[in-house]
């Protein structure tokens, strides 16, 4: 199935892309999707999203559609869903 991934702020800058369509096996969970993304973009994903121990970085927010999913990465994704990876930002 195809999942559209949206990248924001520092992660978008590190990857040099705003979004991509990613092929994932049917019924993949969010964790499995992130693990596959980490294989494709190891340095940036590990730094900003999912560390080598499969723990979310504390400053990342994940949304499926327009819904923040917190730390629960176990839900299966559906064909055509969109995942947004938000790195928190500040001011100045």
């Amino acid at each position: 199935m195809i999942i559209r991934i949206h990248y924001t702020t520092q992660l978008r800058m590190a990857l040099g892309i705003d979004s991509e369509d990613f092929e994932a096996p049917r019924d993949s969970t969010l964790l499995e999707l992130l693990q596959r993304l980490r294989q494709q973009h190891p340095e940036a994903l590990e730094k900003y999203v999912l560390n080598a121990r499969d723990e979310l970085q504390p400053s990342v927010l994940l949304c499926v559609g327009d819904r923040h999913v917190g730390n629960d990465l176990s839900g299966p994704l559906q064909e055509g869903e969109e995942v947004t990876i938000l790195s928190v930002i500040s001011g100045g």
Binding site: T8, S59, D66, V88
Partner: protein, 262 residues
């Protein structure tokens, strides 16, 4: 009335408006659901803005324009050239001089009725509790996550609303924290991000946009009308004009706010 229920930060003993104030604010008094009572509520309100940089300058300017009664400004340091692409309360003539004094002077030129308490300090462990205790509403415009998390801790402890403004490059985030109603910052990120750099790319037009939005959130909270961003995160990317409003969840095990939710 405001849709996100929260204890009224202002109360019901409201000051009268004088002739000049009615004339000055006439166009916003015409706004449905705001009216003269909304203006009286702004006059009775106090707001902490920290800091007064690219975001906070515009937040403070818009609140001064709207007729908020008192601003507490917290911002250390002296004006540098690199402030002047976005910090609209700073001037070339003020280079090397106190930022917060420049902010105070510019705001009083615009609205001489405004009460301002200008504090030449950033938020620290030592002053966070006292700063938050001075006001009805907090607007977080700080560049350091340590400051943001300190403010968050204090607004949760003191049960005060906080508007959280953020920007990076051509992107912006905005949310409103109503303790006991919405997620707090600690629900979203319990510790500062490790790779964050204090200095980052941004245009003044981006910080100005989110500053205006943050000021409007505060006006809605104070005047108790409209719908705030409590429980929602507004995001935008001005590079391609993408605007989204995401639902955000509180953490039921949040070490700060879990006990304050029903």
């Amino acid at each position: 009335m405001v849709k996100n229920k929260h204890p009224d930060p202002i109360g019901s003993d409201l000051p009268e408006l004088d002739h000049q104030e009615r004339a000055t604010y006439q166009w916003q008094i015409w706004v449905p659901d705001f009216g003269e009572v909304g203006q009286q509520r702004l006059k009775n309100a106090s707001v902490l803005v920290t800091r007064c940089g690219g975001l906070g300058s515009v937040v403070a300017y818009e609140l001064a324009a709207a007729g908020v009664g008192k601003l507490v400004l917290a911002h250390a340091g002296r004006i540098k050239y690199s402030d002047l692409n976005r910090q609209l309360l700073m001037t070339h003539a003020g280079l090397g001089k106190s930022r917060v004094e420049s902010a105070r002077r510019r705001l009083l030129e615009f609205n001489p009725r405004l009460q301002i308490e200008a504090i030449a300090e950033n938020v620290t462990e030592r002053n966070a509790e006292a700063l938050v205790s001075k006001v009805d509403v907090v607007i977080d415009c700080a560049p350091l996550f340590e400051e943001r998390l300190l403010l968050n801790r204090e607004v949760v402890a003191q049960q005060k609303p906080m508007v959280d403004c953020a920007m990076y490059e051509l992107e912006a985030h905005l949310t409103t924290i109503l303790p006991g109603v919405s997620p707090c910052l600690n629900c979203l990120y319990p510790e500062p991000p490790k790779p964050w750099r204090r200095e980052f790319p941004v245009f003044g037009a981006v910080s100005g946009m989110v500053g205006c939005l943050g000021a409007m959130e505060a006006i809605k909270i104070i005047a108790q009308f409209g719908e705030t961003l409590a429980g929602k995160l507004f995001t935008c990317n001005l590079r391609d004009m993408t605007f989204r409003t995401l639902s955000i969840q509180r953490n039921p095990h949040c070490s700060l706010c879990a006990s304050s939710h029903p």
